[in-house]
C-alpha cells in the first residue's frame, strides 16, 4: 500500500507516509507504513517524524492571522471567503492547501531541511516569512502543501497514538516497546538529538527528568463481582484533577502531567518536596485543588491550568496538593514490577515519615495519600462508589493487589469504576459545524434549560455545549433537520427552532459567574435523543442548581486522615 517514490530523503516521502496514515482506519496498515518509513528514512528525518507524531514540533514560526491573509492573497480570494472556507473545511492547513493554486513543480528538500528552515523562520521579518511561504506553497503539490502547512500550524491528528508509534518503532528497530516508550518520554529536542542518542544509545544521565509511561485503566464493563475474589483487590477514589508524576532525582524536582507535559513551574507548591522526599523517588498521583483546606472542584483547578506563572494571590486562593496513588521508583530503583501492595507499603511509609518528622509539622507538605478503602464485600464498595461525589471524586479505582505497574492502557489489573453521570433534559438551541471528520455537518450543539425571567415568563437559557454522544447516523439526521430549521445565521453558528430535547450527561457541576446560566458543568455530552419529549418537558436551571446542593461534600475533610489506610 505504501510505496516509496524515487528519493527517500525528500519531503515527498514523508508526505506520502502522512497520506497513508491519514487514509486508513486500520491500525496494522498504519504500523506497517510507519515501520517501513522508519527503516528507510535518514536518521534526522526519523527523529523529526517521531517528534512530530508525538506532538513535539518547533514553535509556530508564523501566526495564523498572517497565514490566512497570505493564503487568501496567493489564492486571489477575499479574506472573508477564505474564512468561510476554513469554517467549512475545518482545518486551517487543509484549507490553505486546497485554495492555493496547484503547480506541477516539486521541491527536493528533506523533512529535516524544511523543519530547520521553519525554526530559522521564526526570527525573520514578515516580508521574508511571506516570501518563504509563497515559494514553498508554489513548489509543493496538494498533499505536500498540506503537510508543509500542517508543520507550520500544528500537530498532526491522524490517528497515530504514542502507542502505535512505539509499536512501529519497535518493529523497525527490533527494540522492546516498553523501553522505547520510556526513551521517548520527557524533554528531548529533535533539532539537536540524534537518532543514535534518542533511540539506540543506553545513557543513564539522560534519564534524570524522565517519567515512566503512565499505566491507564479501562472502565469496568461488566458486573463488578465478575472481578472475582474481593480480597485480591484494593480500592481507592478516582480523583478528578491532573494525573501526574512527581520525580525527585539529584536534588531536582520534575512534575509531569499525563499529557507528557513538564509542568513543574506551574505548581511551585511542590518545590517543598525537594530535600524532604529522598532522591531517586517517583510518585504517581493526582494534582488536586485544595482551597480552604479541602478538595475543590475541577472548576477550581481550571484557574491554575494553562497559567505558566502563578500569582501569589492565586496560589493562596487555589493551592494544590498531590494525592499520591503509587510509587514507581524508590531509592533510585525502578520498582514497577513489584506488586501494587508492596509499592503501596513503601508509599505509605514514605508518607508517614514525612508527616511525622518534627521539622515538617509547621511547614505543610502538600503530599496527601489517596487512601485505600476498607471493605470486605463488593457490596461495601458499591456503597462507597455511590458516595464518591461527596468526597469530590469521580468514582473508584480498583487495583489488583499483586499487579505490576504496566505501560499504557491495559485491561485486567486496574479498572476505573466511575459514578453514573448526572443527567438533565435540555433543548437544542444553536448548532455549529464540526471540525475534522465532522466538517460540513452541524455537530456542535448548544443546549438550554428553562428559567423564569423578570416578567415571570419562561425562557430558554443556554447552559452547556456538547458535541459527542450521538451516532453518525443520528448526527446526520440532526444535521438535516438543522439545515431546514435554521432561524438565524451568525457566521458558522445557526440558531434553530427550539424543538428537540436531548438528555445531557455531565461529570460535575459548580456555580459559576462566567456562565449565563450561573452554572458550569464538567464534560457535558449527549446521552441520548429524547424523541419522546417535547420542549415543555425539558428541565429548568433550578433543577440544575438543586443538583449542586445535592452533591456538595457533607463531611468536610480538613486533614488527610489516615484511619482508612489498611496497609
Amino acid at each position: 500500500m505504501f510505496c516509496f517514490v524515487s528519493n527517500t530523503y525528500e519531503m515527498k516521502t514523508f508526505a506520502a507516509l502522512i497520506k497513508t496514515l491519514d487514509s486508513t482506519n486500520k491500525t496494522t496498515v498504519k504500523v506497517t507504513a510507519l515501520a517501513d518509513y522508519l527503516k528507510v528514512a535518514n536518521d534526522a528525518d526519523k527523529v523529526w517524524t517521531i517528534a512530530i507524531l508525538s506532538h513535539r514540533r518547533p514553535p509556530r514560526p508564523v501566526n495564523t492571522t498572517l497565514l490566512r491573509a497570505w493564503a487568501s492573497e496567493l489564492a486571489n480570494i477575499p479574506l472573508w471567503l477564505f474564512e468561510e472556507s476554513y469554517h467549512i473545511v475545518g482545518d486551517l492547513a487543509e484549507t490553505i492547501a486546497l485554495v492555493v493554486p496547484s503547480t506541477a513543480s516539486s521541491s527536493k528538500k528533506s523533512l529535516t531541511q524544511f523543519l530547520k528552515e521553519m525554526i530559522a523562520l521564526k526570527s525573520k521579518t514578515d516580508t521574508e516569512k511571506k516570501a518563504y511561504l509563497f515559494e514553498n506553497w508554489n513548489a509543493l503539490d496538494y498533499y505536500g502543501r498540506f503537510v508543509f502547512t500542517k508543520l507550520i500550524t500544528g500537530s498532526f491528528r491522524i490517528g497515530v497514538s504514542q502507542k502505535l508509534m512505539t509499536r512501529a518503532l519497535a518493529k523497525a528497530t527490533g527494540l522492546d516497546e516498553d523501553v522505547l516508550a520510556y526513551k521517548l518520554m520527557g524533554n528531548w529536542d529533535p533539532n539537536t538529538i540524534s537518532f543514535q542518542k534518542l533511540i539506540l544509545e543506553e545513557n543513564k544521565s539522560d534519564y534524570l527528568s524522565k517519567p515512566y509511561p503512565f499505566y491507564l485503566a479501562y472502565a469496568i464493563e461488566n458486573d463488578v463481582e465478575d472481578l472475582g475474589d474481593v480480597s485480591q483487590w484494593s480500592a481507592e477514589h478516582k480523583w478528578d484533577g491532573i494525573r501526574s508524576q512527581v520525580i525527585l532525582r539529584n536534588n531536582e524536582l520534575f512534575v509531569w502531567s499525563r499529557g507528557e507535559e513538564l509542568v513543574t513551574d506551574k505548581y511551585p507548591e511542590f518545590e517543598k518536596f525537594v530535600g524532604i522526599i529522598p532522591n531517586g523517588t517517583v510518585i504517581d498521583g493526582e494534582i488536586l485543588p485544595y482551597p480552604k483546606n479541602q478538595i475543590g472542584t475541577f472548576n477550581d483547578l481550571q484557574k491554575r491550568i494553562g497559567r505558566k506563572t502563578v500569582s501569589k494571590s492565586l496560589l493562596e486562593k487555589v493551592p494544590v496538593i498531590l494525592k499520591a496513588y503509587d510509587l514507581l521508583e524508590w531509592e533510585g530503583v525502578d520498582i514497577r514490577n513489584k506488586p501494587f501492595s508492596e509499592r503501596r507499603k513503601l508509599l505509605t511509609a514514605l508518607y508517614r515519615e514525612i508527616h511525622t518528622a518534627k521539622s515538617n509539622l509547621e511547614n505543610q507538605i502538600p503530599l496527601h495519600l489517596s487512601e485505600t478503602m476498607h471493605f470486605t464485600t463488593w457490596n461495601d464498595l458499591t456503597r462507597e462508589r455511590e458516595r464518591s461525589r461527596e468526597a469530590r471524586s469521580e468514582g473508584l479505582m480498583l487495583k489488583r493487589k499483586d499487579s505490576p505497574y504496566l505501560v499504557g492502557r491495559k485491561k485486567g489489573d486496574w479498572w476505573k469504576w466511575k459514578v453514573d453521570p448526572l443527567t438533565i433534559d435540555a433543548v437544542l438551541t444553536y448548532a455549529m459545524r464540526g471540525h475534522g471528520r465532522r466538517s460540513n455537518l452541524f455537530t456542535d450543539y448548544t443546549f438550554a434549560l428553562w428559567q423564569e425571567n423578570e416578567e415571570g415568563k419562561k425562557e430558554l437559557v443556554t447552559f452547556a455545549k456538547a458535541y459527542s454522544g450521538l451516532t453518525d447516523a443520528e448526527f446526520r439526521k440532526v444535521d438535516a433537520w438543522i439545515k431546514k430549521n435554521t432561524l438565524e445565521r451568525f457566521g458558522p453558528v445557526r440558531s434553530v427552532k427550539p424543538h428537540h430535547v436531548f438528555e445531557i450527561a455531565f461529570e460535575g457541576i459548580a456555580l459559576s459567574k462566567r456562565h449565563k446560566s450561573g452554572v458550569a458543568t464538567r464534560f457535558p455530552r449527549i446521552l441520548r435523543w429524547r424523541h419522546d419529549k417535547k420542549i415543555e418537558d425539558a428541565n429548568a436551571i433550578q433543577d440544575l442548581k438543586e443538583l449542586i446542593l445535592a452533591e456538595t461534600p457533607k463531611a468536610i475533610e480538613t486533614k488527610d486522615s489516615s484511619k482508612n489506610i489498611i496497609e
Binding site: 486508513t24 487543509e94 486546497l98 475534522g436 471528520r437
Partner: protein, 342 residues
C-alpha cells in the same frame, strides 16, 4: 412592478406567463424537468416535459406518468413563452432550461458540470439576462482534476486490491455517478458486479450509452466469485448487512465531498476519490462569465457565500431557497434509495 419571468414559490420555480413550473417540489399541472435525480423530478405532477434521454429515467423512477420528450435546442412555446432545453452535462439527459419572453432570457441550470464526462451531452453555456445557478460546490476549496486522472487512480486502486486478494467496493449514486464510473472501469483487471439499484438504472441507460458488461449481485452470488473483482454500490449500502458478503474488501467513495479529509473519515471509507457531477469553483465562475448575465440567482449549495462573492465582483446576485439538495443527497443518502429500487 412587473412580475419576474421566473418566481420562486412554495411549489417550485414558476413561470406565471406560461403557468409552468421548473423542477417543482410539490405536485403541479405542468412541470419542465431538468434531470432524473429525485430532488429535481418528483412524483405527482400531471404533465412532465423533459429531454427525451431523460424520459426512460423518470418513467423508470416514477412509473406511469404523462411525459413528452424534447430535443436539444428545440423551441416549444407555451402561452407565448418560448422554452428550450440545452445540455447541462450533469448526468445522462440533464438539461438547462432556457426561457424567453418579450426579449428577456432566463436560464435555469438545474445541476450541471463543465467537464465533458463522455456519457452526458457536454454543457453548453447560453447567453442570458438572468442565470439561475446551482452552487453545490461554490467554494474555492473545490477544484476538480481531469477525470482521466481520477479513473487511472480508481483502476490502480482496484488492481492493487485484487493483487491483495480483496474485493473492491466502490460507492456512487445509483443514477449518474455509478454509470460514469462504470464507463471507465478497466475490464482487463476483473469483472464488474453491481448492486441491484445500480443494475436496474444501468439497464435503463444501456440503449443510450455503450457500457461494459456487469453482473447483478443476487442472494445466489457466491462470495468467491466476487473476490478480486469490483462492486459498484450506492453509498447507502455502506455499513449495511448486504456488504458483508464482500469480505475481505476495501471501500472507496467517488464524490466531490471527498475533497475533505473529514468527509472520508466520517463515513469510515478506506479511500476517497474526488469526482463530481457538479461544477467546481472555477467551473461556476467560468460558466457565469460565459452567460454574460448580469443577474445571478444562486440556489442550492453554498449559495450565501457564493452570491456574496458574486456581488463583490459586480453582479446583481442573490440567493433563493429551494428544496434541491445537489450532491448532499449523495453524501447523506438514506436506506430509502435501496429499498425503493431494489
Amino acid at each position: 412592478m412587473e412580475k419576474p419571468l421566473l418566481a420562486f414559490t412554495n411549489k417550485g420555480i414558476y413561470c406565471s406567463a406560461a403557468k409552468v413550473y421548473l423542477d417543482p417540489w410539490k405536485p403541479v399541472d405542468n412541470a419542465i424537468i431538468t434531470h432524473g435525480h429525485a430532488d429535481h423530478s418528483r412524483w405527482g405532477n400531471n404533465r412532465y416535459i423533459t429531454h427525451h434521454r431523460n424520459v426512460p429515467i423518470i418513467t423508470h423512477r416514477l412509473g406511469e406518468i404523462e411525459v413528452s420528450g424534447r430535443e436539444w435546442g428545440e423551441t416549444f412555446t407555451i402561452n407565448g413563452v418560448q422554452f428550450s432545453l440545452h445540455p447541462a452535462g450533469h448526468i445522462i439527459g440533464s438539461s438547462q432550461v432556457r426561457v424567453e419572453y418579450k426579449g428577456e432570457v432566463w436560464v435555469f441550470t438545474g445541476d450541471y458540470k463543465t467537464e465533458n464526462d463522455g456519457i452526458s451531452t457536454p454543457f453548453e453555456p447560453l447567453k442570458c439576462h438572468t442565470f439561475i445557478t446551482e452552487c453545490t460546490f461554490g467554494l474555492p476549496a473545490f477544484k476538480w482534476v481531469p477525470q482521466d486522472e481520477v479513473f487511472s487512480a480508481i483502476n490502480e486502486w482496484w488492481a492493487q486490491n485484487r493483487s491483495e486478494g480483496k474485493t473492491s467496493v466502490l460507492f456512487g449514486y445509483s443514477l449518474g455517478k455509478a454509470q460514469r464510473l462504470l464507463k471507465y472501469l478497466d475490464t482487463d483487471i476483473g469483472k464488474i458486479y453491481t448492486h441491484g439499484a445500480i443494475e436496474n438504472m444501468t439497464e435503463v441507460l444501456r440503449p443510450l450509452v455503450d457500457f461494459p458488461e456487469t453482473s447483478r449481485i443476487t442472494p445466489e452470488t457466491k462470495k468467491e466469485a466476487l473476490l478480486g473483482n469490483i462492486v459498484l454500490a450506492p453509498p447507502s449500502a455502506h455499513g449495511s448487512s448486504w456488504i458483508r458478503k464482500m469480505v475481505p474488501y476495501e471501500t472507496a467513495s467517488a464524490s466531490g465531498w471527498m475533497t475533505f479529509r473529514g468527509a472520508r473519515r466520517r463515513r469510515a471509507i478506506d479511500k476517497g476519490f474526488v469526482l463530481s457531477d457538479h461544477c467546481d469553483w472555477q467551473g461556476l465562475i467560468e460558466s457565469i462569465t460565459a452567460t454574460s448575465a448580469e443577474k445571478i440567482i444562486c440556489t442550492h449549495g453554498y449559495s450565501d457565500i457564493f452570491s456574496r462573492y458574486l456581488r463583490e465582483q459586480g453582479y446583481d446576485a442573490r440567493t433563493e431557497e429551494t428544496q434541491y439538495e445537489g450532491e448532499l443527497a449523495e453524501l447523506n443518502s438514506t436506506k430509502e434509495e435501496i429499498t425503493s429500487t431494489n
